[in-house]
Amino acid sequence: MGIGMPPLDQPTTTGDNEPYVFEVARGRGWRRWLHNPSALIGSIIVVLVVASALVSLVWTPYSPLAVDPSHALSGPSLRHLLGTDEYGRDVFSRLMASSQVALFVGVLSVLIATAVGIPAGLLAAERRGATGQVVLRLADILYGFPALLAAVVLAAAFGASKSTVVLAIGISYIPVFVRVTRSNALVVLNSEYVLAARAYGRRPLAIMRRHVIPNIMTTIIAQMSLLFSLAVLAETALDFLGLGTAPPAASWGTMLQSSQNYLGNDPLLTVWPSVAIVLCVLGFSLFGDGISELRDVRGHR
């Protein structure tokens, strides 16, 4: 395939004012989505994780907290699909319940980051003077605090809990959204149709709503999916360190932590939560990649 060749699915202009990128994503998106193996695998995993979290709200094979000392550390069997842990709790049920924690932390922290980061990024793009500079400098400060460090500081001040984890991850991702939003919004704001809209007398807020936000939305959603997967990684690490979900509540991180004492006798106790985490993170990052590829018309080979 020639390097300079135009993409096969060059979008036709629709004639109206709508930016065409969105048109492509809507029109041919689903078929391309199904033909993109990583996007497909990603969405299957995402659906699985969400389903297991929802199902675990109402049903798990055993209660994730039910202790049964007589069956402690029993390996996989028909009664306990993935075996039991050191207190005889059913590993499969605990894995299912843990997906709730992962989704809870992931969704809330990404929401915090977007709720602050996107408006701040739009503001920095629109007001390039002093206001924009202030926003960027504030983002710089937060940039010095990766999720883990932020979580440690918050835990030292307020005591460790799930909320400090959510807050810490959310805050640490704010600068990412500020930057992504700002740089993408700048491209749109410098375009000729925005110039035309300005000449026509549209207010900045209306331009944001009609032109900027629809155009940058796919990039933002892709970024959200990616950061969600990073949030799950961070949450696991924090729970492992004892800075998040408190035992006996189940989470993949706390499961890993307690499995540490049985690495020799029962390595499967470590393997199960590991597999769950890797699958979940992989799923959401593939999902995010799939969305970015959808958007990137030129990247289509």
């Binding site: 390097i3 990583s38 400098r137 504030l138 710089d140 400060i141 940039y143 010095g144 605090f145 990766p146 883990l148 460090l149 440690v152 500081v153 918050l154 835990a155 030292a156 001040a157 307020f158 460790a160 997967s229 990684l233 696991t236 690490a237 492992f240 360190l241 800075l243 991180g253 890993l256 499995s259 540490q260 690495l263 020799g264 390595p267 470590t270 393997v271 590991s274 985490i277 890797v278 699958l279 993170v281 992989l282 990052s285 593939l286």
Partner: protein
């Protein structure tokens, strides 16, 4: 006169960047101080326990300087940091500076070791992935690195322990013998460094691949190929330098994430580094130590960012004129 003006103009972006970093560092110090000091409740009470007499609590509060106004405490703290004096731990009464220096003698080599492992894995894998793009082996490398990125360092560490320590007895599980026996010390760092390095290598390889692919598709490389150079030759002569520019950024970001990752890995392997010190301080409510280490890590991340940004300009002359 003319030369001075030109020099000044060339240095302007540099000075501006250093200025913004100084502002960010100041902001970070305010943030850390406020979060750790606004809460009501007396650290002295926490340290002495609920049984302590009010007199003892008051005495310790004065001794720790916690009776002074907050602004005064903040200025004392930052002034101390600027003079290289980090204060004394509330709990152990040891110099925090000395404790951090001791911890860095573990964390520093660990991070460096992990960075080398990450580079040794990521660079060739990324190059190979780009050269084999579109073939089965290329997709295989792509999938491998995608999965590697999804592995938390905790998981990498625990799985390495299961395989190499528990099953094969190759490496010690945890702890650190100290640098008096360098060989044993390095041996204790192998597994932790690999836990960090494998994952970072996977991430790095994706960036390398993307960067090399971009060069392979560039016009000048096509010209080089059309004059008869083979892909490898053309890349060596023309591509690598250009591909290296974005990689500097990535390696810088890696370094920052390795420093943070070390906090986790040190706790998996019970290595007496900065991460273990930080977590111990959190658990003992030794807030002044937490404050110092948090500031240290945040500064490291911000300064690494600055260095990356500046080296970027240095490597790519096209960016010189831009601010």
């Amino acid at each position: 006169m003319d030369a001075a003006v030109r020099l000044g103009r060339a240095l302007m972006p540099l000075l501006r960047r250093v200025g913004t970093i100084a502002v960010a560092l100041w902001g970070a110090s305010v943030l850390v101080f406020v979060v750790l000091n606004v809460l009501p409740g007396s650290p002295a009470q926490v340290i002495l326990g609920t049984q302590a007499t009010p007199q003892a609590v008051r005495q310790l509060t004065i001794q720790l300087g916690l009776n002074k106004p907050l602004l005064r405490q903040y200025l004392d703290w930052v002034g101390g940091l600027l003079h290289g004096s980090l204060g004394v731990s509330y709990i152990s009464h040891l110099s925090i500076g000395a404790q951090i220096a001791q911890a860095l003698s573990v964390t520093g080599p660990l991070v460096l070791f992990a960075l080398i492992i990450g580079l040794v894995i990521g660079l060739p894998l990324g190059f190979l992935g780009a050269l084999r793009n579109g073939r089965v082996s290329g997709s295989l490398i792509g999938s491998l690195s995608q999965i590697g990125m999804a592995v938390p360092t905790v998981v990498a560490g625990l799985l390495l322990v299961i395989i190499l320590t528990v099953k094969l007895h190759v490496f010690p599980t945890s702890g650190f013998p100290g640098w008096s026996d360098p060989l044993q010390a390095l041996r204790a760092l192998v597994l932790p460094a690999f836990s960090l390095g494998l994952v970072e290598g996977a991430i790095l390889s994706r960036y390398v691949r993307a960067s090399v692919l971009e060069q392979l598709r560039s016009d000048y490389l096509r010209t080089a190929r059309s004059k008869g150079l083979r892909v490898g030759q053309a890349l060596r002569r023309h591509g690598i330098r250009n591909a290296a520019i974005p990689l500097v950024t990535v390696v810088g970001l890696e370094l920052a994430s390795l420093i943070v990752g070390a906090i986790v890995v040190e706790n998996v392997f019970a290595l007496p580094g900065l991460g273990l010190l930080l977590l111990d301080s959190v658990n003992n409510r030794d807030l002044i130590t937490v404050q110092d280490i948090a500031m240290l890590v945040a500064s490291a991340v911000l300064v690494i960012n600055l260095v990356v940004d500046l080296s970027y300009r240095l490597l790519d002359p096209r960016l010189k004129g831009l601010s």
